[in-house]
Assembly symmetry: C2
Homo-oligomer: 125 residues x 2
């Protein structure tokens, strides 16, 4: 999976990496059990510090998305630990995004279409 960093974003690099890996897992682009690049390889490839990548991996590990093992590297968990629904902060963020969209003339249907696109077209919803 290709990870791209937006230098102009307010989101810290380690969070951008974390977010893209989470989205990759959800979309299926990253399969369960799949090997992730080593922290050094990814840091070199992206021209950033190894500790920045390590921070991303530690966060993903703590959240239950990946497993890390010395010498084995990092792998996507086959069974993602669920954390019980949508977090309060994500609900607030969703409300903010919907509000801004609505005030800029975006229809409800356009938002729902985006949700469908991001959720994927499997039998989960």
């Amino acid at each position: 999976m290709i990870i791209r960093i937006d230098e102009l974003s307010d989101v810290p690099i380690y969070l951008q990496i974390r977010n893209q890996i989470v989205m990759g897992i959800s979309s299926g682009e990253l399969a369960g059990g799949e090997q992730l690049p080593t922290v050094r390889a990814l840091a070199l490839e992206m021209g950033i510090n190894t500790m920045t990548v390590s921070k991303s991996y530690q966060l993903l590990k703590q959240e239950g998305y990946i497993m890390t093992d010395r010498k084995n590297g990092a792998r996507v968990r086959t069974e993602i630990r669920v954390q019980g629904g949508i977090s309060d902060s994500n609900k607030t963020e969703l409300k903010r995004i919907v509000s801004e969209a609505r005030l800029s003339g975006v229809s409800r249907q356009e938002i729902v279409s985006l949700v469908d696109e991001y959720y994927g077209t499997d039998d989960k919803g």
Copy 2:
């Protein structure tokens, strides 16, 4: 409208204020033309610095959500300037939220229901 600050949130105070006002406008809790609290009053009420509130108002003004006028204070614009759809950063945020929700077992329908709730039940979508 009651504005509440989450001290534990990663979101800066000035942004929390800005976001809650935007959501208030979208929900109709803040009507077009409605007077907002003065920067000093809101700062005193919330126990924060006036410049922090001022920063929120400047941002809202720049984005076209409110108008500020010396001696007249700040008011919600009657005609919100649209900015052309959902921003790229909001799309990315939405994708992240949907991905996290999906991986924690939330159904597509649950997300859509939240969107409906936040969008409101008028004839816009």
